[in-house]
């Protein structure tokens, strides 16, 4: 019912591998934002999110992703999301964000 974030940098591919476990909502979105911002301060590279354990996200969490994507786009970097659950896929379709993020798997 809360959020845990696992991060590590893939030197071979030159991108961040992030695993999100749990729920991103108005309570946990701040934690997500801080983590992402500190990642980009360390290395401004594309972020690949494994969402297989992401149970829930709503507009607060999507807003954080949009904000981070904007920063990445300045350097032509991306957010890639893999293993998305159907309920979250639906939300990305509805909002059109499936065309903004790179969705895989």
């Amino acid at each position: 019912m809360s959020l845990s974030i696992v991060k590590n940098f893939d030197f071979e591919k030159g991108l961040w591998n992030i695993q999100l476990n749990g729920e991103v909502d108005v309570y946990t979105a701040g934690q997500l934002k801080e983590t992402f911002i500190s990642l980009l301060e360390e290395k401004k590279e594309s972020i690949k999110i494994d969402a297989s354990e992401l149970e829930y996200i709503d507009s607060t969490g999507l807003g954080v992703l949009i904000g981070i994507l904007k920063r990445l786009k300045q350097d032509n970097k991306n957010i890639i999301i893999i293993n998305i659950k159907p309920s979250i896929k639906k939300l990305l379709n509805i909002t059109g964000l499936d065309k903004i993020f790179v969705i895989e798997g």
Partner: protein, 154 residues
């Protein structure tokens, strides 16, 4: 009589059997997950399928997030949620006594001009069958949203 009571009153006057559940909860982010589980339990009890239960969880969370982030009036206050359970339909009212806004002025999300906000109401309207927002500047907001059990309504 506030907006929520007024709308609820209309309902009560009709003759179909309805159950009312009322929840008053602190306007703080940590309680939104409690509200999501409560709506999931109610919708599950009514026989909604997993996909629709998820829709309710997201929609109510969006409404509560707005009540908490925009609707806030006093720092430590509660806001109200009411569930109206009918045979074929679950209706939810989320009501705050916050600052209110002009719902007509809301813009739809623009993918060519990404903003970090502005998705909440749009998501609620996409996921629910009926949505009605009544907001008065300085007095607060009530958002009413319903979804039907059957697939006939879209």
């Amino acid at each position: 009589m506030n907006t929520m009571n007024k709308i609820a009153k209309e309902y009560t006057n009709m003759s179909i059997k309805k159950d009312h559940i009322k929840l008053s909860i602190p306007n703080r982010p940590e309680y939104v997950s409690v509200i999501r589980l409560t709506v999931a339990a109610i919708a599950n009890r009514m026989g909604f399928d997993i996909e629709k239960i998820e829709d309710f969880k997201v929609a109510i969370a969006e409404a509560c997030t707005n009540a908490i982030t925009h609707g806030k009036h006093l720092k430590d206050d509660n806001f109200n949620i009411e569930f109206i359970v009918e045979d074929e339909k679950l209706t939810i009212y989320v009501q705050d006594n916050g600052k209110g806004y002009s719902a007509e002025k809301l813009e739809s999300p623009d993918l060519n001009n990404l903003r970090e906000g502005g998705l909440g109401v749009f998501i609620i309207k996409s996921l629910m069958d009926e949505v009605d927002i009544v907001s008065e500047l300085g007095r607060g907001t009530t958002i009413k949203m319903s979804k039907y059990l059957g697939d006939d309504f879209q």
